[in-house]
Protein backbone atom coordinates (compact mmCIF):
# COMPACT_ATOMS: atom_id res chain seq x y z
CA UNK A 1 0.00 0.00 0.00
CA UNK A 2 1.33 3.37 -0.91
CA UNK A 3 0.96 6.16 1.57
CA UNK A 4 0.93 9.71 0.31
CA UNK A 5 1.86 12.27 2.88
CA UNK A 6 1.79 15.99 2.40
CA UNK A 7 2.53 18.69 4.87
CA UNK A 8 0.27 21.70 5.25
CA UNK A 9 2.65 23.98 3.32
CA UNK A 10 2.68 21.63 0.36
CA UNK A 11 -1.09 21.40 0.34
CA UNK A 12 -1.44 25.16 0.36
CA UNK A 13 1.07 25.46 -2.49
CA UNK A 14 -0.83 22.87 -4.51
CA UNK A 15 -4.13 24.62 -3.87
CA UNK A 16 -2.64 27.96 -4.93
CA UNK A 17 -1.30 26.43 -8.14
CA UNK A 18 -4.69 24.92 -8.91
CA UNK A 19 -6.38 28.25 -8.25
CA UNK A 20 -3.84 30.05 -10.43
CA UNK A 21 -4.36 27.58 -13.27
CA UNK A 22 -8.12 28.04 -12.97
CA UNK A 23 -7.71 31.79 -13.04
CA UNK A 24 -5.49 31.68 -16.11
CA UNK A 25 -7.89 29.35 -17.94
CA UNK A 26 -10.81 31.58 -17.00
CA UNK A 27 -9.09 34.75 -18.09
CA UNK A 28 -7.36 33.59 -21.26
CA UNK A 29 -7.64 36.39 -23.80
CA UNK A 30 -10.55 35.81 -26.14
CA UNK A 31 -10.01 36.04 -29.85
CA UNK A 32 -11.57 39.07 -31.49
CA UNK A 33 -15.08 38.29 -32.71
CA UNK A 34 -16.68 38.51 -36.15
CA UNK A 35 -18.88 41.25 -37.65
CA UNK A 36 -20.96 42.82 -34.85
CA UNK A 37 -23.81 43.53 -37.27
CA UNK A 38 -24.15 39.78 -37.98
CA UNK A 39 -24.90 38.45 -34.54
CA UNK A 40 -25.16 34.76 -35.32
CA UNK A 41 -28.14 33.05 -33.72
CA UNK A 42 -29.97 36.30 -33.08
CA UNK A 43 -31.97 38.49 -35.42
CA UNK A 44 -29.59 40.91 -37.09
CA UNK A 45 -29.46 44.42 -35.69
CA UNK A 46 -31.76 46.54 -37.92
CA UNK A 47 -30.07 49.01 -40.30
CA UNK A 48 -26.73 48.31 -38.65
CA UNK A 49 -23.45 50.02 -39.50
CA UNK A 50 -20.02 49.46 -37.98
CA UNK A 51 -18.65 52.38 -36.00
CA UNK A 52 -14.96 51.97 -35.32
CA UNK A 53 -13.96 53.81 -32.17
CA UNK A 54 -10.74 55.67 -31.49
CA UNK A 55 -7.80 53.41 -30.53
CA UNK A 56 -6.91 53.36 -26.82
CA UNK A 57 -3.49 52.65 -25.31
CA UNK A 58 -3.03 50.40 -22.29
CA UNK A 59 -0.01 49.79 -20.14
CA UNK A 60 0.81 46.17 -19.31
CA UNK A 61 -1.66 44.51 -16.88
CA UNK A 62 -3.85 47.59 -16.82
CA UNK A 63 -7.62 47.37 -16.33
CA UNK A 64 -9.98 50.20 -17.19
CA UNK A 65 -13.69 50.84 -17.49
CA UNK A 66 -14.74 52.60 -20.69
CA UNK A 67 -17.92 53.97 -22.18
CA UNK A 68 -18.29 53.71 -25.97
CA UNK A 69 -21.09 55.50 -27.80
CA UNK A 70 -22.94 55.04 -31.07
CA UNK A 71 -23.25 58.47 -32.67
CA UNK A 72 -24.43 60.31 -35.78
CA UNK A 73 -27.45 58.97 -37.64
CA UNK A 74 -26.91 55.48 -36.17
CA UNK A 75 -26.92 56.32 -32.45
CA UNK A 76 -28.59 53.17 -31.05
CA UNK A 77 -26.60 50.34 -29.50
CA UNK A 78 -28.15 46.87 -29.22
CA UNK A 79 -26.32 45.17 -26.37
CA UNK A 80 -27.09 42.62 -23.69
CA UNK A 81 -30.07 44.69 -22.53
CA UNK A 82 -31.68 43.94 -25.89
CA UNK A 83 -30.43 40.34 -25.89
CA UNK A 84 -27.50 40.82 -28.29
CA UNK A 85 -24.21 39.37 -27.09
CA UNK A 86 -21.94 39.91 -30.09
CA UNK A 87 -22.68 43.49 -31.09
CA UNK A 88 -19.12 44.74 -30.58
CA UNK A 89 -15.67 43.49 -31.39
CA UNK A 90 -12.02 44.36 -30.78
CA UNK A 91 -8.79 43.88 -32.63
CA UNK A 92 -6.16 42.71 -30.13
CA UNK A 93 -6.05 39.30 -28.43
CA UNK A 94 -4.01 40.66 -25.50
CA UNK A 95 -7.30 42.01 -24.14
CA UNK A 96 -10.43 40.73 -22.47
CA UNK A 97 -13.52 42.91 -22.88
CA UNK A 98 -16.48 42.42 -20.53
CA UNK A 99 -19.78 44.21 -21.11
CA UNK A 100 -21.54 45.65 -18.05
CA UNK A 101 -25.23 45.16 -18.80
CA UNK A 102 -26.34 47.29 -15.87
CA UNK A 103 -24.52 50.41 -17.06
CA UNK A 104 -25.20 50.00 -20.79
CA UNK A 105 -27.59 52.46 -22.35
CA UNK A 106 -29.64 52.77 -25.55
CA UNK A 107 -26.62 54.53 -27.11
CA UNK A 108 -23.81 53.21 -24.92
CA UNK A 109 -21.62 50.15 -24.54
CA UNK A 110 -20.03 50.04 -21.08
CA UNK A 111 -17.10 47.65 -20.73
CA UNK A 112 -14.24 46.63 -18.48
CA UNK A 113 -11.09 46.06 -20.53
CA UNK A 114 -7.90 44.38 -19.33
CA UNK A 115 -4.58 44.15 -21.11
CA UNK A 116 -3.13 40.81 -20.03
CA UNK A 117 0.09 41.30 -21.96
CA UNK A 118 3.12 42.67 -20.15
CA UNK A 119 3.89 45.50 -22.55
CA UNK A 120 1.91 48.51 -23.70
CA UNK A 121 -0.79 47.59 -26.21
CA UNK A 122 -3.47 49.35 -28.21
CA UNK A 123 -7.08 48.24 -28.61
CA UNK A 124 -9.66 49.43 -31.11
CA UNK A 125 -13.29 48.57 -30.39
CA UNK A 126 -15.92 48.48 -33.12
CA UNK A 127 -19.64 48.73 -32.34
CA UNK A 128 -22.64 47.63 -34.38
CA UNK A 129 -24.85 50.73 -34.37
CA UNK A 130 -28.40 51.17 -35.62
CA UNK A 131 -30.58 54.02 -36.83
CA UNK A 132 -33.62 52.12 -35.55
CA UNK A 133 -34.40 52.60 -31.87
CA UNK A 134 -34.81 49.55 -29.63
CA UNK A 135 -38.41 48.57 -28.77
CA UNK A 136 -40.15 51.15 -26.63
CA UNK A 137 -38.18 54.22 -27.71
CA UNK A 138 -39.97 55.19 -30.94
CA UNK A 139 -43.42 56.79 -30.75
CA UNK A 140 -44.47 55.20 -34.08
CA UNK A 141 -43.62 52.30 -36.32
CA UNK A 142 -40.78 53.56 -38.47
CA UNK A 143 -40.13 52.73 -42.12
CA UNK A 144 -37.11 53.26 -44.35
CA UNK A 145 -33.70 54.65 -43.52
CA UNK A 146 -32.63 57.87 -41.83
CA UNK A 147 -33.48 61.21 -43.48
CA UNK A 148 -32.48 64.71 -42.47
CA UNK A 149 -34.70 66.59 -40.05
CA UNK A 150 -37.66 68.04 -42.06
CA UNK A 151 -38.02 70.84 -39.53
CA UNK A 152 -41.78 70.40 -38.98
CA UNK A 153 -43.54 71.13 -35.65
CA UNK A 154 -42.29 68.94 -32.81
CA UNK A 155 -44.16 67.01 -30.15
CA UNK A 156 -43.55 64.21 -27.66
CA UNK A 157 -40.02 65.38 -26.78
CA UNK A 158 -38.12 62.95 -24.54
CA UNK A 159 -34.58 62.92 -23.12
CA UNK A 160 -32.62 59.78 -22.37
CA UNK A 161 -29.43 60.02 -20.32
CA UNK A 162 -26.93 57.21 -19.86
CA UNK A 163 -26.10 56.04 -16.35
CA UNK A 164 -22.71 56.49 -14.76
CA UNK A 165 -20.53 59.48 -13.91
CA UNK A 166 -20.67 60.90 -17.44
CA UNK A 167 -24.32 61.66 -18.21
CA UNK A 168 -24.38 61.53 -22.01
CA UNK A 169 -27.91 62.23 -23.23
CA UNK A 170 -29.88 62.07 -26.43
CA UNK A 171 -33.25 63.48 -27.33
CA UNK A 172 -36.15 62.01 -29.28
CA UNK A 173 -39.21 63.78 -30.64
CA UNK A 174 -41.93 63.42 -33.23
CA UNK A 175 -42.46 65.84 -36.10
CA UNK A 176 -45.71 66.16 -38.02
CA UNK A 177 -45.60 68.04 -41.32
CA UNK A 178 -48.43 69.87 -43.09
CA UNK A 179 -48.95 66.96 -45.51
CA UNK A 180 -49.72 64.75 -42.46
CA UNK A 181 -46.43 62.86 -42.79
CA UNK A 182 -44.95 62.11 -39.40
CA UNK A 183 -41.35 61.45 -38.43
CA UNK A 184 -39.64 60.01 -35.38
CA UNK A 185 -36.42 61.98 -34.80
CA UNK A 186 -33.30 61.53 -32.68
CA UNK A 187 -30.73 64.15 -31.74
CA UNK A 188 -27.41 63.25 -30.18
CA UNK A 189 -24.38 65.56 -29.82
CA UNK A 190 -26.14 68.15 -31.95
CA UNK A 191 -26.75 65.75 -34.87
CA UNK A 192 -30.43 65.18 -35.69
CA UNK A 193 -31.96 62.71 -38.10
CA UNK A 194 -35.45 61.31 -38.60
CA UNK A 195 -37.23 58.12 -39.58
CA UNK A 196 -40.56 58.31 -41.35
CA UNK A 197 -43.50 56.88 -39.45
CA UNK A 198 -45.31 54.10 -41.27
CA UNK A 199 -48.33 54.52 -39.08
CA UNK A 200 -48.94 56.99 -36.30
CA UNK A 201 -51.43 57.48 -33.55
CA UNK A 202 -52.07 56.58 -30.00
CA UNK A 203 -52.23 52.85 -30.65
CA UNK A 204 -48.61 52.72 -31.77
CA UNK A 205 -47.64 54.88 -28.89
CA UNK A 206 -49.46 52.62 -26.43
CA UNK A 207 -47.82 49.56 -27.96
CA UNK A 208 -44.44 51.21 -27.76
CA UNK A 209 -44.80 52.17 -24.12
CA UNK A 210 -46.12 48.71 -23.36
CA UNK A 211 -42.90 47.10 -24.59
CA UNK A 212 -40.60 49.53 -22.83
CA UNK A 213 -37.70 47.64 -21.32
CA UNK A 214 -37.22 47.97 -17.54
CA UNK A 215 -34.09 50.05 -18.03
CA UNK A 216 -35.79 52.50 -20.37
CA UNK A 217 -38.77 52.67 -18.03
CA UNK A 218 -36.42 53.64 -15.23
CA UNK A 219 -34.75 56.24 -17.45
CA UNK A 220 -38.13 57.67 -18.44
CA UNK A 221 -39.21 57.80 -14.81
CA UNK A 222 -36.12 59.81 -13.89
CA UNK A 223 -36.98 62.60 -16.33
Amino acid sequence: MTTITMNAKGAVRLALRAAALGLVLMLLPEPAKADPCQTGAYEPIPDCVLQQQAPVNYKGWQTSGWAYYCTGDHPYFYGLQQGYIDSYTWDNSCFTVTEDIFVDGPNKLDVTITNWCLKEETITVTLGCSSKPPPGVASCTTVGGPVSDPGCPQSNVKNYCSRGPVPVCFQTYQETCANKTSYFCTMTFGVAYCLQCGSTGSQDQKRASGTLSPVLQALSARR
Binding site: L16, R17, A19, A20, L21, L23, V24, Q53, A54, P55, V56, N57, Y58, K59, W61, Q62, T63, S64, G65, W66, A67, Y68, Y69, T71, T112, T114, W116, L118, E120, V125, N159, C161, G164, P165, V166, P167, V168, C169, F170, Q171, M187, T188, F189, G190
Partner: protein, 187 residues
Protein backbone atom coordinates in the same frame (compact mmCIF):
# COMPACT_ATOMS: atom_id res chain seq x y z
CA UNK B 1 -36.27 38.74 35.31
CA UNK B 2 -34.01 41.08 33.36
CA UNK B 3 -34.84 41.59 29.69
CA UNK B 4 -31.97 41.50 27.23
CA UNK B 5 -32.23 43.87 24.28
CA UNK B 6 -30.68 44.13 20.79
CA UNK B 7 -28.72 47.14 22.02
CA UNK B 8 -26.89 44.85 24.41
CA UNK B 9 -26.07 42.53 21.55
CA UNK B 10 -28.34 39.72 22.71
CA UNK B 11 -31.47 38.18 21.38
CA UNK B 12 -34.69 39.35 23.10
CA UNK B 13 -35.66 36.93 25.83
CA UNK B 14 -39.12 36.48 24.34
CA UNK B 15 -37.54 35.06 21.16
CA UNK B 16 -35.10 32.90 23.05
CA UNK B 17 -37.80 31.37 25.19
CA UNK B 18 -40.31 31.00 22.38
CA UNK B 19 -42.75 33.22 24.25
CA UNK B 20 -43.98 34.95 21.07
CA UNK B 21 -47.20 33.83 19.42
CA UNK B 22 -46.82 31.33 16.54
CA UNK B 23 -47.08 33.71 13.57
CA UNK B 24 -44.75 36.22 15.15
CA UNK B 25 -42.25 33.51 16.01
CA UNK B 26 -42.26 32.24 12.46
CA UNK B 27 -41.82 35.80 11.10
CA UNK B 28 -39.03 36.44 13.58
CA UNK B 29 -37.42 33.14 12.62
CA UNK B 30 -37.57 34.04 8.93
CA UNK B 31 -36.04 37.43 9.65
CA UNK B 32 -33.26 35.83 11.67
CA UNK B 33 -32.65 33.31 8.90
CA UNK B 34 -32.52 36.08 6.27
CA UNK B 35 -30.15 38.13 8.40
CA UNK B 36 -27.89 35.11 8.93
CA UNK B 37 -27.91 34.35 5.20
CA UNK B 38 -27.03 37.97 4.39
CA UNK B 39 -24.21 37.97 6.92
CA UNK B 40 -22.90 34.65 5.61
CA UNK B 41 -23.01 35.90 2.02
CA UNK B 42 -21.17 39.05 3.00
CA UNK B 43 -18.46 37.04 4.71
CA UNK B 44 -18.10 34.80 1.66
CA UNK B 45 -18.09 37.59 -0.91
CA UNK B 46 -15.89 40.04 0.99
CA UNK B 47 -12.39 38.73 1.47
CA UNK B 48 -10.65 39.75 4.67
CA UNK B 49 -8.47 42.84 4.41
CA UNK B 50 -5.34 40.78 4.98
CA UNK B 51 -6.20 38.66 1.93
CA UNK B 52 -6.53 41.74 -0.27
CA UNK B 53 -3.26 43.17 0.87
CA UNK B 54 -0.84 40.48 -0.25
CA UNK B 55 -1.69 40.53 -3.94
CA UNK B 56 -0.24 43.93 -4.88
CA UNK B 57 3.34 44.90 -5.62
CA UNK B 58 3.24 48.20 -3.74
CA UNK B 59 6.43 49.41 -5.44
CA UNK B 60 5.17 48.97 -9.00
CA UNK B 61 3.95 52.04 -10.86
CA UNK B 62 1.53 51.97 -13.80
CA UNK B 63 2.46 54.77 -16.15
CA UNK B 64 0.58 57.20 -18.32
CA UNK B 65 -1.07 55.61 -21.35
CA UNK B 66 -1.83 58.88 -23.20
CA UNK B 67 -5.61 58.47 -22.97
CA UNK B 68 -6.51 62.02 -21.96
CA UNK B 69 -7.34 63.21 -25.50
CA UNK B 70 -8.56 59.89 -26.95
CA UNK B 71 -10.50 60.50 -30.15
CA UNK B 72 -9.97 64.25 -30.12
CA UNK B 73 -7.92 66.46 -32.35
CA UNK B 74 -4.58 66.73 -30.57
CA UNK B 75 -4.18 70.33 -31.70
CA UNK B 76 -7.34 71.34 -29.80
CA UNK B 77 -6.60 69.32 -26.68
CA UNK B 78 -4.15 70.04 -23.86
CA UNK B 79 -3.17 68.08 -20.77
CA UNK B 80 -3.74 69.58 -17.32
CA UNK B 81 -1.86 67.78 -14.55
CA UNK B 82 -2.80 67.41 -10.91
CA UNK B 83 -0.11 67.56 -8.27
CA UNK B 84 1.36 64.27 -7.08
CA UNK B 85 -1.16 63.09 -4.49
CA UNK B 86 -0.52 60.59 -1.72
CA UNK B 87 -3.37 58.19 -1.03
CA UNK B 88 -3.28 56.99 2.59
CA UNK B 89 -4.28 53.50 3.63
CA UNK B 90 -8.06 53.13 4.16
CA UNK B 91 -8.74 56.75 3.25
CA UNK B 92 -10.10 57.53 -0.25
CA UNK B 93 -9.10 60.88 -1.72
CA UNK B 94 -11.11 62.98 -4.16
CA UNK B 95 -8.94 64.65 -6.79
CA UNK B 96 -10.42 67.68 -8.57
CA UNK B 97 -9.12 69.11 -11.83
CA UNK B 98 -10.39 72.14 -13.70
CA UNK B 99 -9.76 72.99 -17.34
CA UNK B 100 -8.58 76.52 -18.22
CA UNK B 101 -10.90 78.97 -19.97
CA UNK B 102 -8.94 78.59 -23.22
CA UNK B 103 -9.76 74.84 -23.30
CA UNK B 104 -12.93 74.63 -21.22
CA UNK B 105 -14.14 71.08 -21.93
CA UNK B 106 -12.98 67.87 -20.23
CA UNK B 107 -12.82 65.18 -22.92
CA UNK B 108 -10.81 62.47 -21.15
CA UNK B 109 -8.14 61.72 -18.57
CA UNK B 110 -5.11 59.61 -17.80
CA UNK B 111 -3.11 58.72 -14.70
CA UNK B 112 0.16 57.41 -13.35
CA UNK B 113 -0.30 55.52 -10.11
CA UNK B 114 0.99 52.79 -7.89
CA UNK B 115 -0.39 49.36 -8.64
CA UNK B 116 -2.49 49.30 -5.49
CA UNK B 117 -4.32 52.56 -6.24
CA UNK B 118 -7.74 52.33 -7.93
CA UNK B 119 -9.30 55.32 -9.66
CA UNK B 120 -12.90 56.06 -10.58
CA UNK B 121 -14.53 59.12 -12.12
CA UNK B 122 -17.04 60.61 -9.72
CA UNK B 123 -18.30 63.39 -11.95
CA UNK B 124 -17.69 65.32 -15.11
CA UNK B 125 -19.62 68.47 -15.95
CA UNK B 126 -23.03 67.88 -17.47
CA UNK B 127 -22.88 67.07 -21.16
CA UNK B 128 -26.48 67.33 -22.36
CA UNK B 129 -26.80 68.00 -26.08
CA UNK B 130 -28.21 71.42 -26.87
CA UNK B 131 -28.31 72.49 -23.25
CA UNK B 132 -26.75 75.89 -22.72
CA UNK B 133 -26.97 75.69 -18.94
CA UNK B 134 -24.53 72.76 -18.94
CA UNK B 135 -21.75 74.58 -20.77
CA UNK B 136 -20.02 76.33 -17.85
CA UNK B 137 -19.55 73.07 -15.96
CA UNK B 138 -17.97 70.87 -18.63
CA UNK B 139 -14.47 71.76 -17.45
CA UNK B 140 -14.61 69.96 -14.10
CA UNK B 141 -13.31 66.45 -13.47
CA UNK B 142 -13.47 64.67 -10.13
CA UNK B 143 -11.72 61.34 -9.66
CA UNK B 144 -11.83 59.24 -6.48
CA UNK B 145 -8.60 57.42 -5.60
CA UNK B 146 -8.65 54.40 -3.28
CA UNK B 147 -5.79 52.51 -1.69
CA UNK B 148 -6.19 48.72 -1.91
CA UNK B 149 -3.12 47.76 0.12
CA UNK B 150 -1.24 48.38 3.35
CA UNK B 151 1.17 51.09 2.18
CA UNK B 152 0.41 54.64 1.05
CA UNK B 153 0.53 55.09 -2.71
CA UNK B 154 0.82 57.99 -5.09
CA UNK B 155 -1.15 59.13 -8.08
CA UNK B 156 -1.01 61.94 -10.59
CA UNK B 157 -4.06 62.60 -12.79
CA UNK B 158 -4.00 64.29 -16.17
CA UNK B 159 -7.19 65.79 -17.60
CA UNK B 160 -7.61 66.24 -21.33
CA UNK B 161 -9.03 69.73 -21.92
CA UNK B 162 -10.32 70.71 -25.34
CA UNK B 163 -11.60 73.78 -27.14
CA UNK B 164 -14.36 71.53 -28.53
CA UNK B 165 -17.13 70.00 -26.38
CA UNK B 166 -17.19 66.28 -25.77
CA UNK B 167 -18.69 64.53 -28.81
CA UNK B 168 -19.22 60.93 -27.74
CA UNK B 169 -15.68 59.61 -28.10
CA UNK B 170 -14.61 56.70 -25.89
CA UNK B 171 -14.46 57.87 -22.28
CA UNK B 172 -12.58 56.08 -19.49
CA UNK B 173 -14.51 56.01 -16.21
CA UNK B 174 -12.24 53.84 -14.05
CA UNK B 175 -8.70 52.59 -13.98
CA UNK B 176 -6.63 50.17 -11.92
CA UNK B 177 -3.97 47.49 -12.33
CA UNK B 178 -4.08 43.74 -12.34
CA UNK B 179 -2.56 42.74 -8.94
CA UNK B 180 0.84 41.41 -9.98
CA UNK B 181 1.46 39.36 -6.83
CA UNK B 182 -1.54 37.11 -7.34
CA UNK B 183 -0.66 33.43 -7.45
CA UNK B 184 0.41 32.50 -10.96
CA UNK B 185 1.28 36.05 -12.02
CA UNK B 186 4.96 36.31 -12.94
CA UNK B 187 6.55 39.24 -14.69
Amino acid sequence: MPTATWAQGRMPVAWATGALPGAQTRRAGRLLLAASAALGLTLIVTPPASAQRVIHDVNRTVGFAKTECTGHNAQNCIAVRSKLTTIPVDEPVLIHLSCPQSHPHVVGWDARHHEHISLRVVSVGQMKPGSSEAKPRTGDLRVAARNDAHRPGEVRIVAGCSTQPYQGHPFMHSRRSVPSKQPGMRR
